[in-house]
């Protein structure tokens, strides 16, 4: 046997590494947590990495998982070895093809990073809900439970499918395995060659469709033969388990790693056994060892081959001594007789009794665990075994939660821990932007690949995209690490950001005598006084060793800005003693050279400088004998928050969501809006400060603010009487607001400090021209003062919306936003558009939101930015799926229109009862503006009063429907991944429907939420994931497709290029009585740009002609006018000038210079032609609905 090659990689890479090398075609589509497999495959293909047959696999991104499955099916049918990767909803979209692929006995493997399905809520995290839905497809199912297993079982699956002719679904737990970094022994090319039988590959090729030996496959069958034909495959399923076992044995011979269809682990005479599959096996195995060492007799059966379910092997795997079995399912099937694995187990024992199982029938109980990556720890395992020890063990239990409603849960002792002291167990608290996770991944590699030690890393991320906290859990030790749960007892804790100490007990998991590393800007002797009381208490009670470094200072001096990753990494190695210090530092430097050299010598040098400087700034902290601080942790939300916010959302914010019992959570997924206002994250290091002396009241800072933290009001001077001393105001400039005062106020605790407002402010200070009418200043000294000002500002009454001239930004921005303080990235390009829509229409708006960034910053717990006004009105929001959003929104419209129609019928019926005049007014109301809507609301209130007095059933019916008589505006919102790709079919149908909905496409030109994968909106030549060598085709013209219907309002906007145009387009789209679509250019962090100046990119983009500003208003046809108006003059600069501002374009010149040049040339040509085409269309005279060309 060759010397094994070890690498530290995550589960996704382990699987992709195999799948890539043994396939010829790979069809991909991004979905968390499986996206990385597709990304790696695409990157390898673009670098020319070859498979085991010496050719580069063809990797193709599709418009959806359904599309990917179709390509897989077609590719398999024509003889190529083909694979795909997916999860969750993506797998659901593949199901129809999976039935076909299996029905046709086609060898293939689908790799699934198993993830929860969207029910009461979406969750990106891991469980088996998705793969369980695929049980009926006819696919074989293989489960792996660790990074090593994922690589091994992937190999076995690919080899086995060729022999069995049954396609396989290979699944491993999303995040816990897909994202865990672990040291694994690689399956090398020779092993793969030995595993993949060339004759079987040949046989697959031979079965391919070919006109040279034509056949027909995919017939339609009638009742006479369908049934028999369906049964004709049985022998394949019968033989499959033996084939897989044979393949596993072959694999064991090559690698020394043995697997069985069902693997038993534990006491040979165990009386109690847990049955489960996936990553939970790791936690159970460790617990079994521990419990048996304490004298218990317990064991574990791991399921490897779940389908076809081999009863014989299954029963054989249990020791004969087995008396009780707990079957743990990582899924929930509401209303079932039990979860799937439980049912399979019961069936197997029932059928096997007296045959394969000759012992007494064990007691079998089923339970659910680990949904959505809920922790599954040894404490829980122990509780499950303890339950089995009961005379009547609890059935259909849950473990890991507190179910205070139906009392399904088994209690567990959260203090029970079996963490091995032989391992270093380190927890790191960092910010997304400080590079903590990246550095930890490097540390794992250093330890895993530079020492005989094993290493494991698992990373917990925040649900916010800005100011996001990351928690890294790293284990290092001499034995393979299978602790598939977060660190329960840490020997080392590092807090990389001082701000966490204000709110979180970062030492909760710290064991006695551990080491605590702090990044604080204080001298060692000053540190103690700066720590809050709970942290001081933990330090003294646990007798910790404490070290401090001012990492920001060291990083800054080394030229690394806010990235303290290298500094903190050196500190970890210096004080954790995982490796000898000199050796570790040498390894860090080598790793820096490897990682950074290709980005330029200076980057590597900068990091090396940081390494060299660190140790001189790392100090032990002297500790007193008693706690001295009076400061407690800050509460997660204000005491004034509503109960639900305090008791539920606040607990989630505080990091205690795991402890919330079932009763506290809404059972139908309905949550209140208006909750982000309570979170007060204080993540902006700097905030904008208004200078009223030079402000011109233009409202631009407010319209572009992505987080709705800049508000403006004009008001009566009397409201200044009790204003705080530092509250700023000026005379309003607008002539309609003569005599009023005017204030621009910033929400200091909600601002992310992105600086977009300052960049967009058009006014400069005449004395010091670098200053504007709004300028960034440090937040901490302003926090208290501005908080008071903000609260005072909120209490000043807003102007009557009916009086505002909303076609001018200056006045329009006085409208209250009903979308505020989202967790979107600092400087997000999407949120200003959403906010604008809520300002204009929010109090009568329903939103159908496609899955993506906007559904995450809009609807990811704990809080939502969607809010309501003082009257309690505001947008009603829902997210259905990624692929169906247009249809979902159309459903709103159809439903509301039906209700309105019915209500109007009832009004007519009840005319005499409610009064002829009121009825007529209601029925003929013009609700095209604020005043019209206001008046209709008054009428409906009148109507309801009258109806309440009536006892007739018709009146009562109308009473329930009356509110629908007030205008309801339906907005269908989503990104380009939805509109251009996965949801395009539905979008097209909605466009064709003519129904009155407004579609807002937040066009970032990539799948932003999943990490920047190519969509059909991505421009030619842009680098994105799945287009590592530049997108080779031009951007799809969605607007033109929509215009093609002739009766759809179409607007193309870019707020930073022309904000007034954006406003006008929104107003026209809403006013248009049919379908409207606005394609809104949204800059994005995935563009590789400076977010604070991103609106300058909008300008450059439009000036270059790469984005057109236009409106296509079919209503103009009625006036004999051309419906298409171009709203900017011809391209004034070269596309190169715009593209030079963005790394997504510039990077290609660095990675593929020749291709970049070619793309740039083509892009320039296409842009010219594109503009000429639009110009031609817009210049046609239009009368009687016919253009010159047509007539």
């Amino acid at each position: 046997m060759k010397k094994p090659l070890f690498k530290t990689i995550d589960g996704n890479e382990a699987v992709a590494n195999i799948a890539y090398r043994v396939n010829e075609v790979i069809a991909i589509y991004p979905i968390t947590p499986a996206s990385v497999m597709g990304e790696l495959a695409d990157a390898w293909a673009s670098e020319g990495v070859k498979n085991i047959w010496g050719t580069v696999p063809s990797v193709i991104e599709m418009q959806s998982e359904g599309g990917a499955a179709g390509v897989v099916h077609g590719s398999l049918q024509t003889g190529s070895l083909t694979t795909t990767f997916t999860a969750s909803q993506g797998l659901l979209l593949m199901l129809p093809n999976m039935f076909k692929i299996a029905g046709e006995l086609t060898p293939a493997v689908f790799h699934i990073a198993a993830r929860s399905l969207a029910g009461q809520a979406l969750s990106i995290f891991g469980d088996h809900s998705d793969v369980m839905v695929a049980r009926g497809t006819g696919f074989g199912m293989l489960a792996s439970g660790s990074v090593q297993e994922a690589m091994d079982i992937a190999t076995i699956a690919h080899a086995g499918t060729l022999k069995a002719r049954i396609p396989f679904l290979h699944f491993f737990d999303g995040f816990r395995t897909s994202h865990e970094v672990n040291k694994v022994e690689m399956v090398d090319e020779d092993m793969l060659r030995a595993m993949i039988d060339e004759e079987l590959v040949e046989a697959h090729h031979t079965r391919a469709l070919s006109p040279d030996h034509p056949v027909l496959r995919g017939t339609a069958q009638n009742p006479d033969v369908y049934f028999q034909a369906r049964e004709s495959v049985n022998s394949y399923y019968e033989q499959c388990p033996a084939i897989i076992q044979e393949t596993m044995d072959q694999f064991a011979e090559l690698t020394g790693r043995a697997y069985h269809l069902f693997d038993y682990y534990g006491a040979p005479d165990a009386d109690r056994v847990i049955l489960l599959m996936g990553s939970g096996c790791g936690a159970v195995q460790e617990s079994v060892d521990f419990l048996n060492s304490q004298g218990e007799k317990v064991g574990l059966v791991k399921v490897r081959l779940y389908r076809p379910f081999d009863m014989k092997s299954f029963l054989k795997s249990f020791p004969e001594s087995t008396k009780k079995i707990a079957v743990l399912d990582r899924t929930k099937e509401p209303g079932s007789a039990g979860e799937p694995l439980f049912q399979d187990c019961v069936t197997a024992f029932q059928e096997g009794m007296g045959n394969e199982w000759s012992n007494p029938l064990p007691v079998i109980v089923g339970g659910r665990y680990g949904l959505s990556s809920k922790e599954f720890t040894p404490a829980m395992v122990k509780a499950v075994f303890d339950n089995l020890s009961e005379i009547q063990p609890k059935k259909h239990f849950t473990i890991g939660i507190q179910d205070d409603v139906m009392h399904t849960h088994i209690p567990f002792d959260s203090n029970f821990s079996i963490e091995s002291k032989a391992m270093t167990r380190a927890i790191f608290y960092g910010l997304g932007s400080d590079g903590t996770v990246g550095a930890n991944k490097t540390s794992i590699k250093i330890i895993g690949e530079h020492s005989p030690n094993y290493a494991q890393g698992y990373f917990v991320y925040d649900s916010k995209k800005s100011g996001a906290m990351t928690i890294s859990h790293l284990r290092f030790g001499p034995d393979p690490i299978q602790s598939t749960y977060l660190i329960q007892e840490a020997s080392f804790v590092a807090c990389h950001q001082p701000v966490f100490l204000e709110r979180y007990n970062v030492l909760q998991q710290m064991e006695a005598g551990g080491t605590f590393l702090l990044n604080l800007p204080y001298a060692p002797e000053e540190v103690w006084e700066k720590l809050p009381r709970p942290i001081q208490t933990e330090i003294l009670e646990k007798q910790l060793k404490v070290y401090v470094i001012d990492a920001q200072k060291v990083a800054h001096q080394a030229g690394m800005g806010r990235r303290i990753n290298t500094v903190m990494q050196v500190c970890f190695f210096a004080i954790s003693n995982v490796l000898p210090q000199d050796e570790a530092i040498e390894a860090i430097k080598t790793s820096i050279q490897t990682t950074y050299s290709k980005k330029g010598r200076h980057i590597a040098e900068m990091n090396i400088r940081a390494v060299d400087e660190t140790l001189a700034h790392l100090f032990p902290v002297p500790l007193p004998e008693a706690v001295s601080s009076k400061t407690e942790f800050l509460p997660p939300v204000s005491e004034e928050a509503p109960d639900f916010v305090k008791n539920v959302l606040g607990e989630i914010i505080g990091g205690r969501g795991d402890q919330l019992p079932v009763s506290m959570l809404p059972s139908d997924g309905t949550y209140p809006t208006g909750t982000s206002q309570w979170e007060k994250r204080n993540i902006g290091l700097k905030i904008p400060v208004w200078d009223p002396t030079i402000c011109i009241d233009c409202g631009k800072c407010s319209i572009v603010c992505p987080h709705a933290v800049i508000r403006l009001k004009a008001y009566e001077p009397k409201y200044l009487d009790n204003a705080p001393a530092s509250f700023k105001s000026k005379d309003a400039r607008d002539k309609d607001w003569k005599g009023l005062k005017y204030t621009i106020q910033v929400a200091p605790e909600d601002c992310t400090g992105c600086g977009i407002c300052v960049d967009f402010c058009p006014v400069k200070n005449k004395k010091i021209t670098r200053l504007k009418a709004i300028n960034m200043e440090d937040q901490p000294p302003l926090r208290v003062q501005e908080k008071e000002n903000w609260e005072y500002f909120l209490d000043i009454p807003s102007l009557d919306r009916r009086e505002l001239k909303i076609n001018s930004i200056r006045q329009q921005q006085a409208q209250e936003p009903l979308f505020e303080f989202s967790g979107a990235c600092e400087g997000c390009g999407e949120t200003p558009y959403i906010k604008l829509a809520t300002q204009l229409f929010g109090d009568h708006m329903l939103v159908a939101n496609a899955t993506g960034c906007s559904s995450i910053y809009g609807g990811n717990l704990p809080t939502t930015p969607w809010t309501k006004n003082a009257e309690g009105r505001g947008p009603a929001w829902s997210n259905s799926l990624f692929e169906d959003n247009a249809e979902f929104g159309l459903g709103f419209r159809v439903s509301l229109d039906k209700q309105k129609e019915f209500a109007e019928e009832l009004v007519r019926q009840l005319k005499s009862e409610i009064g002829e005049g009121l009825a007529e007014e209601i029925l003929s109301a013009d609700q095209n503006d604020e005043a019209g809507i206001y008046e209709q609301r008054e009428r409906v209130a009148d109507l309801k009063q009258k109806l309440e007095k009536s006892t007739s059933s018709v009146a009562q019916k109308l009473l329930t429907l009356a509110d629908v008589l007030v205008k309801k505006s339906v907005w269908i919102i989503g990104g380009d991944g939805w509109a251009y790709d996965i949801g395009f079919g539905g979008l097209d149908h909605v466009l064709a429907s003519g129904r009155n909905v407004n579609i807002l496409v937040l066009d970032t030109e990539v799948y932003s939420n999943t990490g920047g994968q190519t969509s059909k909106s991505t421009p030619l030549g842009a680098v994105a994931k799945f287009s590592a060598s530049g997108k080779p085709t031009q951007k799809k013209d969605l607007g033109m497709i929509a215009m093609n219907y002739g009766n759809v309002y179409v607007g193309s906007v870019a707020m930073g290029a022309k904000d007034e145009h954006t406003l006008r387009t929104f107003l026209e789209a809403e006013a248009y009585p049919g379908t409207s679509i606005i394609v809104a250019y949204s800059h994005c962090i995935a563009h590789g740009i400076e977010m604070s100046t991103a609106l300058q990119n909008h300008k450059a983009l439009v000036q270059s002609g790469q984005w057109l500003l236009y409106r296509y208003n079919p209503a103009l046809k009625e006036e004999g006018k051309n419906p298409l108006q171009l709203d900017f003059s011809a391209a004034r600069t070269s596309v190169d000038q715009f593209r030079n501002l963005e790394s997504r374009f510039k990077m290609l010149a660095k990675s593929h210079p020749q291709i970049a040049k070619k793309f740039l040339h083509t892009a320039q040509k296409q842009i010219k032609e594109h503009y000429a085409f639009y110009e031609h269309m817009a210049s046609q005279s239009f009368s009687s609905g016919k253009t010159d060309v047509e007539s």
């Binding site: 994202h179 997304g432 903590t436 990246g438 200076h602 995935a1086 990077m1147 010149a1149």
Partner: protein
């Protein structure tokens, strides 16, 4: 007519050398320049700052938003190979050397000794016939003495000289306390030629927008006076070759520069204004001028109007200034 000249040992068919500018970024342009009569091309500059900036920028955008959110651990797939350094420039030199016959002079623009040396060596290895060092620094640090500034120039030059064997021209600014002395020091440090003068980037101000606008101004015709004067002063007093740059637009300008002592005259603004065909116009014009004025060769006139050879050497120095002022500025009555 013999228009040939030599510049740093390179035998050139005429004194019309194209100076460093974006015009030479396209290989097609360089080929056209050759076809239209250019005798050598100084390639566009490889900017030290640009390389560093690209490097930082890419590192920042590849890593800034990474590892922050569970669904998007990164936003770009990091390429295996990145051409951050001067690779593209070097490949370009190598390709040009295969497709054109005239000398190709590499150009390095920077302000610190660090990265330069390596790039200079690589430029030589790529096949450049000579190297132009555009030492571009605006000394704004009040603690920096004139001597420090000069020493920085000399350090850079010495380090580069130690690494390359091709000829080196130093492109200088006119702002030296004692230019003549500096020339001697540069000569001792290993320079082969001087390019006079570099024009500092002088930003404009937009009074409407209150913005500083980094526009590059094309040199005006009158800019030729400064190099004309200094070349006239230096000719015959330094063994270094002299290249004139700034304000050379017409046949007369070229003639004047050569007469004052320039080995070559560098063209840039004139080509932006009139197009590459202007090279051909100048070459023909010079030939005609020499013909008309019965010169046998360019070499014959080189330096004939230098301070050393002209009939009024004082005109190059201050003694003549007073008279000039009095003659030019007469108050009209």
């Amino acid at each position: 007519m013999d228009l040939t000249t030599t510049y740093m040992g390179l035998r050139l068919k005429n004194p019309l050398v194209i100076s460093a500018s974006p015009l030479s970024e396209e290989a097609d342009n360089v080929r056209k320049m050759e076809d239209l009569g250019a005798s050598a091309v100084v390639l566009y500059s490889l900017f030290e700052e640009q390389i560093i900036k690209d490097s930082y920028e890419l590192d920042h955008h590849l890593s800034a938003a990474a590892e922050s959110h569970a669904e998007a651990l990164s936003y770009f797939t990091e390429p295996e190979v990145l051409h951050i350094g001067p690779e593209h420039y070097l490949e370009y030199i190598a390709a040009l050397k295969k497709s054109v016959g005239i000398p190709i002079i590499g150009s390095l623009n920077g302000s610190t000794p660090g990265g330069w040396v390596e790039y200079a060596r690589l430029i030589e290895e790529a096949g450049a016939d000579a190297l132009e060092l555009n030492i571009y620094t605006i000394p704004t640090d009040p603690n920096l003495t004139a001597l420090d500034v000069e020493q920085n120039y000399l350090d850079i030059l010495k380090e580069v000289r130690a690494q390359v064997s091709i000829p080196i021209a130093v492109k200088l600014s006119p702002f030296f306390t004692s230019l003549a002395n500096m020339v001697v020091k540069l000569e001792n440090a290993g320079a082969n030629a001087l390019v006079l003068f570099n024009r500092f980037y002088q930003p404009d101000i937009n009074p409407e927008e209150l913005e500083v606008e980094p526009q590059i101004l094309l040199s005006a015709h009158q800019a030729l006076r400064l190099p004309l004067c200094w070349i006239g002063l230096l000719f015959g007093r330094t063994p270094l070759d002299l290249a004139a740059t700034s304000g050379i637009h017409t046949v007369q300008d070229v003639i004047k520069m050569v007469m004052s002592g320039a080995n070559v005259t560098m063209l840039c603004a004139a080509l932006f204004r009139h197009g590459l065909h202007h090279i051909e116009v100048l070459e023909k014009g010079i030939g005609a001028w020499l013909d008309e004025h019965e010169y046998e060769s360019m070499e014959q006139m080189r330096g004939n109007m230098s301070q050393l050879h002209c009939d009024n050497p004082a005109a190059f120095e201050r003694a003549q200034y007073v008279q000039a002022v009095h003659t030019h500025f007469r108050i009209r009555e």
